[in-house]
Symmetry: C3
């Protein structure tokens, strides 16, 4: 966690644009939450023409649907929304009218990563410390 | 928001059927909630044969997974479930046994659309009024 | 419900592996929750190379994103996470470092299946009893 799923029309984003967006989502998420980059998963889903609709009409609107850990305060979440929107319009060439972002809060206790139950937001460092041997063995670092 | 994701087996729905379903989902959602049609996003995902299972066996059951804004009352949500189920069986040709619908509640404060943080349910008109200049510039209307 | 969506890189899982994973997810879910197997939906999504990122770099990490009914206790949910992780590493050949699992709680009242509003966890048998005629007609059984 988080898991960011980016839905956009087939052909909108080059591979280079996808990687750049993935990098910036990671930066935005980590700056806002303090989570380490190795927690941040980003996936891109292409929607073929004719498979997406707004108001019942064919649409090329993009969607960022993210599952994040519950417990971030309002200011943090809204700062993330603003930064993600600015980033997407800059890198995709779409206007803000062509983007919807939704953040779905998932309780930490419902998440498992690297074979470990996930830490509560703000307890990542303690979690890393307690599980350092396992995490090091798995090749994870706090960076 | 909302974002309706419709998963069905490859080939079940013609393009015309997808558009008709998108139109009727929009009508159902707006009638139930008072939200304007330009808020309603519908995407169709085709599942290739052999990729979907029920009880561990290959299945052609369809899934409608919707992210909607939190705050609708029980009667509204259950009315939406009934209307969506009736619509799907009529337009897809599948029986009710072949459909699962789940509504996931997302807090309005976690949603950004058209560059704006999303309004609480029932405050759409006030939100449109306060942001009319931006929305008009973006080509949005209350209709 | 539940709906388990398994995202993995294109080619990781054979069709036989997908069916085996679907069977074991069904067994794990039913053993943990008492739900009947015919409630358990599993879908597999292949992610083409270059479409998935971790820490901003291309990744082959897999994701299991499940929508389950709200109301299961902590022990049940964490037991499910452990069993799912063990199963995935055994059948996919991936290490635990290459898997994220997230469980999203959906209120029963927001779910419709087989044309019926979904039962609360623990009330499946009562729901089956009350709706036996409809369920039998639809070909459902409590097994």
């Amino acid at each position: 966690m988080p898991i960011y799923e980016c839905y956009s029309r087939k052909g909108l984003l080059t591979e280079a644009a996808q990687q750049q967006i993935a990098k910036e989502i990671t930066t935005i998420h980590c700056a806002a939450t303090g989570a380490p980059p190795s927690f941040v998963n980003v996936m891109f889903m292409e929607i073929p023409a004719g498979r997406s609709f707004v108001a019942g009409q064919p649409s090329t609107r993009s969607v960022i649907a993210a599952n994040i850990r519950a417990g971030r305060d309002l200011k943090t979440r809204q700062g993330m929304l603003r930064a993600l929107s600015e980033m997407w319009t800059r890198l995709s060439g779409q206007s803000e009218a062509d983007l919807v972002i939704g953040l779905n809060d998932i309780p930490s206790e419902n998440v498992k990563e690297a074979g470990l139950i996930f830490p509560q937001p703000g307890h990542e460092q303690q979690w890393f410390d307690e599980n350092r041997a396992t995490l090091t063995e798995l090749g994870w670092t706090t960076a």
